[in-house]
């Protein structure tokens, strides 16, 4: 790729190749269609140009042609749709073994929190060959997390989580852009995606005595007094949270919801919205008391209660840092 006249973006994720293959297919079909129309117009315009002594030949139309050029393009478009939908389905379905990383957007910066406690601003370090899932929210307006080299993009909304996943393939530095207009410095709300070989990444990760995110969450859980009601037995005034993550929950009004990130988040901020069957609406709201970063930590802690028990080292937790204080701290905590 030329440095001054880029014609094709870097391919640095597993998805990039798939998206590009579809894009090339679309380019070919569109190129052929455009050529047919252009050549037909040019050819007919020259061949039947107005000449003395020749009249236009009236033609009413042709049912066969009309049906043909309605139905054939439709089937071609159907191939676009199916192929595009298959890729999209993959884009929107993070593998179960993904490493999770929290992202908080605000005007005009990206704040990244790794599960292991590392924090970064406008920079995201990820290893190659590993599925990474970003769980994102915004503190103010809508932003959009866009990595052209990975061919992925997702709007980041205030008041809820949206997710994004990728598997990086090539080490290097890639652009991170905010793609949803967000105010004055929208165009500078970007940064670097640093893709590293796994060993290098482990080294980077090991730098700095960071507290894992779910540990921060556990501390908060005690500090905020959550632990007095959400006990680890069945005697608490609130539900026991062990093992609930991503499981269906029966609500007081008879509905069933899945206890995903958004549900846990909502239950902290707005506890009376969806009350678990058999419990009273006694929990106070924590809106305005916990920040988005603290919320992420709490959600991470609730999750860890579900993944820790069955087998150690499932989703996202296998990278416990071997905290070695000798290494200098690499990133700054805000």
């Amino acid at each position: 790729m030329s440095k001054y006249l880029p014609l094709w973006p870097d391919q640095a994720s597993t998805l990039a190749g798939q998206v590009d293959a579809l894009y090339i297919y679309l380019l070919l079909v569109s190129g052929v269609m455009t050529a047919i129309i252009f050549l037909a117009v040019a050819f007919l315009a020259v061949k039947y140009r107005r000449q003395p002594g020749r009249e236009a030949h009236p033609i009413e139309g042709s049912m066969i042609l009309e049906v043909g050029w309605s139905v054939l393009p439709f089937f071609v478009m159907l191939t676009f749709f199916v192929w595009g939908a298959v890729i999209y389905f993959e884009e929107r379905t993070p593998p179960a073994d993904s490493t999770e990383i929290y992202v908080v957007a605000k005007q005009w910066m990206w704040k990244i929190e790794h599960m292991e406690g590392q924090r970064e601003i406008n920079e995201l370090h990820v290893p190659t060959g590993e599925n990474v899932k970003l769980i994102m929210t915004s503190q103010d307006v809508i932003h959009s997390f866009f990595i052209p080299a990975f061919r992925i993009k997702q709007d980041v909304l205030p008041g809820r989580y949206t997710t994004l996943w990728f598997k990086a393939t090539r080490p290097g530095h890639y652009h991170l852009f905010c793609a949803e207009y967000c105010g004055t410095n929208h165009s500078t709300m970007g940064g670097d995606i640093v893709v590293m070989e796994p060993q290098e990444y482990a080294q980077w990760m090991a730098g700095g005595p960071a507290l894992p995110l779910q540990e921060t969450g556990k501390q908060l859980f005690t500090q905020l007094g959550c632990v007095t009601c959400h006990r680890s037995d069945t005697q608490g005034r609130g539900p026991n949270l062990a093992g609930i993550y991503n499981k269906p929950v029966l609500l007081e009004d008879g509905r069933t919801v899945t206890a995903d990130d958004n549900y846990v988040r909502e239950s902290i901020l707005n506890p009376t919205a969806k009350i678990v069957s058999g419990f009273k609406p006694v929990m106070p709201t924590f809106q305005g008391i916990v920040s988005d970063e603290q919320l992420n930590a709490l959600v991470a802690y609730v999750k860890s209660l579900s993944s820790a028990q069955p087998a150690t080292g499932t989703a996202g937790l296998q990278n416990q840092p071997a905290a070695s204080p000798a290494e200098p701290q690499k990133t700054q905590v805000q």
């Binding site: 707005n270 009376t272 919205a273 009350i275 609406p281 709201t285 809106q287």
Partner: protein, 242 residues
């Protein structure tokens, strides 16, 4: 078959004599029937735009009601069914007087027409006054969205406590004011419209041959009524039992 594209050479002409004695016929219409048909189609189309206009808010209401059911039930609990039902009755009666007014115009009874138009305006104003009392009560209870909004848990008709996030209740009242406010604005326009029509009718502008404005204003009034017929159950009634 048509061969010459020059004016006047068309196969025939369809010039219509302007109907004598009908000053209300505009120059560009062929006859009074065409004019009446155009006006009434225009009015129906305008009503379609009104439905789409309110449709946006109904759509917002339905989605939020699903998302924040408890708060909407509690908010609904704070509205007075009695006043709402009274207003519904007032509007239904006013629709009747409009129909009677149109009938009076059709048969050329001028005084009766003016009477029904005036009664319609009075009924419309009654509705607005009652609405004013309701709004006033919301102010006093701090149920108007904004910095002074205050909402505490309420109890449903069976005495059971409805747990509420006051922020979500604020959302309910935002929609309540947006929807009923927009409806009230339409009522005010309708009252103004009928007042003007009553004056014109008194001066004898309308005849059995020409009363399209009365008919079209009537259509508008019915639509405004129908919107209320939907607002009343949605806002006052259906969320009460949780």
């Amino acid at each position: 078959m048509h061969t010459s594209p020059t004016p006047g050479a068309a196969a025939g002409t369809a010039t219509m004599e302007h109907e004598a004695h009908n000053p209300a016929l505009l120059h560009h219409f062929a006859d009074a029937q065409q004019q009446k048909n155009a006006a009434s189609l225009g009015m129906w189309l305008f009503l379609v735009t009104e439905i789409m206009f309110f449709g946006g808010m109904f759509c917002a209401y339905l989605i939020y009601r699903l998302n924040h059911f408890n708060a909407f039930a509690a908010g609904s609990q704070q509205l007075s069914i009695k006043l709402g039902a009274f207003n519904t009755a007032v509007l239904i009666v006013s629709s009747l007087t409009v129909v009677l007014g149109v009938k009076a115009a059709e048969v050329g009874k001028r005084k009766l027409l003016v009477f029904y138009l005036v009664v319609t305006v009075l009924l419309g104003m009654t509705f607005l006054v009652v609405k004013g009392f309701e709004y006033n009560e919301k102010f006093e209870k701090h149920h108007v969205p904004g910095p002074s909004f205050n909402f505490t848990d309420t109890f449903d008709d069976n005495g059971q406590k409805i747990p509420v996030n006051s922020k979500e209740a604020e959302l309910f009242f935002s929609l309540y004011f947006a929807m009923t406010g927009m409806h009230a604005l339409h009522m005010i326009i309708g009252c103004g419209l009928f007042s003007v029509l009553a004056i014109l009718a008194w001066k004898g502008h309308y005849s059995p041959g020409y009363y399209t404005p009365i008919e079209n204003a009537g259509l508008y009034w019915h639509l405004v009524d129908i919107i209320w017929i939907y607002l009343f159950p949605l806002l006052y009634l259906i969320s009460r039992h949780s």
